[in-house]
Amino acid sequence: MSKVISVLNQARFHGIADVTELGVQGMISLRGDLSSARLKTAARTATGATVPEPHRVTISDQGGLCWMAPDELLVLVPYAEVSTRLTKLQDALAKDHALAVDVSDARAVFQLGGPHAREVLAKLSPVDLSARAFTPGMLRRTRLAQVAAAFWMTQDEAFRIVCFRSVAQYVFDLLSIAAQDGSEVDAL
């Protein structure tokens, strides 16, 4: 069987921040009533994480849940387990007005780290990324320059960024240009 690689094959850029395309990540888009007990249980069973508060993520050692909209979660699971966990999720929600779809191969995931990560992202999105306003565990679904993206902050104050696979190269280039050496703004 051929080896699965991600869209940019884990490309890296090192400047005032470190940009890495993270390789394949299992992702399921789940839409439904986030307050329903059945959906909450199904999402927790699939990931080991509890349904997050609005604009937040919850991460466990088996996966995670990202709050994307009042009726939408992005379910993070290991890539190799997407189909089994998706089937379970769909079975658990068969009687509900809910939808779960595998979007793993339609997305790209980046890691943005280093002391200037906040300001690199702040150059690209209309979000307050000051330490006072944006803290670990928070998520924003917004835009990076001209394309849609979502990002959240991990416990070590780095960012995970998710965008459509079709614009992965564009987002990698954006992040790399915003992180080029000598481009510190020091405004945050």
Binding site: M68, A69, E72, R140, R143
Partner: protein, 109 residues
């Protein structure tokens, strides 16, 4: 820069995160209506200097449509509210009246 609070996800979204959806509270006239009513539905729009009601979509964010009441001459925002209503809620109208006594918009005041 126009900043509107999305009533669905609570984000204070700047204009670049939103998509404008034109005039609010249009009544659709489709098949079976008079030519005049259909023409009005398609083409006749308000173009006020002052209080205005619009539809917006939080397109880069949660994706929901919503309504906004604002002033076209000052960019002041009176409030945003649910997309699932035919008219601006009382609370929004009161806020407008407090700031712009005597305002009118179509048959609202």
């Amino acid at each position: 820069m126009l900043i509107l609070e999305c009533p669905y996800c609570g984000v204070l979204a700047d204009e670049t995160e939103l998509t404008p959806g034109g005039e609010a509270h249009l009544k659709r006239f489709g098949p079976g209506s008079s030519d005049e009513a259909f023409h009005g539905y398609l083409f006749e729009r308000e173009n006020p200097r002052g209080v205005h009601f619009e539809r917006w979509r939080h397109s880069y964010g949660c994706g929901k449509w919503f309504h906004a009441a604002r002033a076209t001459d000052t960019l002041e925002v009176f409030g945003t509210y649910s997309a699932q209503v035919f008219d601006p809620p009382e609370e929004i109208r009161k806020k407008i009246t407090a700031k712009r006594p005597g305002w009118t918009w179509k048959d609202l005041s």
